[in-house]
Symmetry: C2
Subunit: 178 residues, 2 copies
């Protein structure tokens, strides 16, 4: 069972850096012998949830589908890295319970920094009233209270954030080498 | 690339024997070193498609989601075995194209035999008018014209069907040993 997969679940506000850090983290784990699948919230919507919007129920359904895929991967010796806003604590708790081998990683970038970055221009649109249900602006984000790992992207660049996660996984006893 | 996964896609009428054969086949491939995930149409509906019915569009959407999961597994060195009626040739063609490493296996049990077996009692209900959109009764099934493998369950018991599939995979050059 030493090479059983486990799920790395990155949660945080839009533009917090989830996808960027996941992309830095994936090759580091591949170098250590793992198969890694990046489950990016935006990309996976196309494959699984093109029918869904961004209301609470839709987000929960989407998170449940991502959870299903991550679970199936993890039990087949793959490390799924989920990069998903996943604003509701209940969705993340369900993912933890369903998947079992689960590491919650909070990309804790503050709202004002995310809004300055605004990678996809969504904050601007939300402030202008062009988008509803924008997490952090007019839709809630429930920060994790006890994540296994918390990443401060104000202090750490993406590559350093990925290295920090790897170090923390080692410290917590997860097998980062396969 | 010798241990890259590939998808075994079992199509056929309800009660043709898809799931039963898939359950016989999975341990044979595991013995040979593979990680194998059984993607059963009924089970996966709960995880991914509880919102969907059984009309043409819903079946196509469901098949597309199963395809996505199978693709992600196969590219991470897992063999997904899909057991799904998948009545439309277009859905199966899309799965083939998306997944790439794809083996279409037609469980060719004739309708009258499936209806005699009627594992879930669905044919009876459909004949009584209690179920609409029952494949083979009042919903179409488009048989594969050129499947890689065709299984005759009238002649072969489930275990022998699984062994036959394995033999055919070997003959076709798929790596059944990892």
């Amino acid at each position: 069972m030493a090479n059983r997969g486990f799920c790395l679940w990155l949660t945080g506000l839009p533009s917090a850096g989830k996808t960027t850090i996941a992309r830095e983290l994936a090759p580091l784990l591949r170098e250590r012998g793992w198969n890694v699948e990046l489950l990016d919230g935006d990309e996976i919507r196309q494959g699984l949830s093109s029918d869904l919007g961004f209301g609470r129920k839709a987000r929960e359904t989407h998170a449940a589908r991502v959870t299903y895929v991550a679970k199936v991967l993890a039990r087949n010796d793959v490390i799924p890295i989920v990069a998903l806003i996943s604003p509701y604590a209940s969705s993340r708790a369900r993912a933890r319970q369903d998947i079992g081998r689960f590491v919650e990683i909070y990309i804790s970038t503050p709202l004002d920094v995310c809004e300055q970055r605004d990678v996809k221009g969504l904050y601007k649109k939300a402030r202008a009233g062009e988008i509803k249900e924008m997490t952090g602006v007019n839709d809630p984000y429930e920060p994790p209270t006890t994540p296994e790992i918390r990443v401060d992207t104000v202090r750490l660049a993406p590559r350093d954030s990925a290295r920090y996660i790897l170090k923390e996984l080692d410290r917590l006893g997860w097998p980062t080498h396969r």
